[in-house]
Symmetry: C2
Subunit: 103 residues, 2 copies
Amino acid sequence: RRSHMTVSYTDPQVSMDLLRAVLQPSFNDDIMAVFRKYQKFFEKAAENVKENVGDDVQTDQLIRETYRNVLEHAKQLFPEGEMKRAGPEVPIKRSRPAEEDCS
Amino acid sequence: RRSHMTVSYTDPQVSMDLLRAVLQPSFNDDIMAVFRKYQKFFEKAAENVKENVGDDVQTDQLIRETYRNVLEHAKQLFPEGEMKRAGPEVPIKRSRPAEEDCS
């Protein structure tokens, strides 16, 4: 019997998040590959910081915090609400057909 | 004259964030390429949701929210504080050479 499932499968975001959870490990691998591309720059920078500021700087922690910031800023690729784009475009409002007419 | 700069270049995270800001656009391109790999799955899922829940579901918005969640969850790759790893590994403490000895 499945009558006691607590997750609402009719909540759109819940359904999407199930797929997200499935794909997340694979996505994380790809993300890590991207970070490895830039790793040497961040390591160099962290070492410079340590040199300038002092030995109590934990470079690993500094780099991880920076990486989390990268991911946070990447969210701006997918803005909330209506897409706001520069330019003369006017947001298109889809007019709903009046359902009362279909009798 | 540069005497009125308000940014502290001795704050380790500020220094790192300058590099982050420089690399962010390039990083965003790579992130977008990763998302394109998975796009068809999310589009399919969003269409299913729309079919099941109703036409007032905005699939674009749903997908963008899911993508932000992907990025949020990816932060767990870079945990705050000490790295906590499963397994028998013991964190390596590098012993500092006692500088007082070098006289």
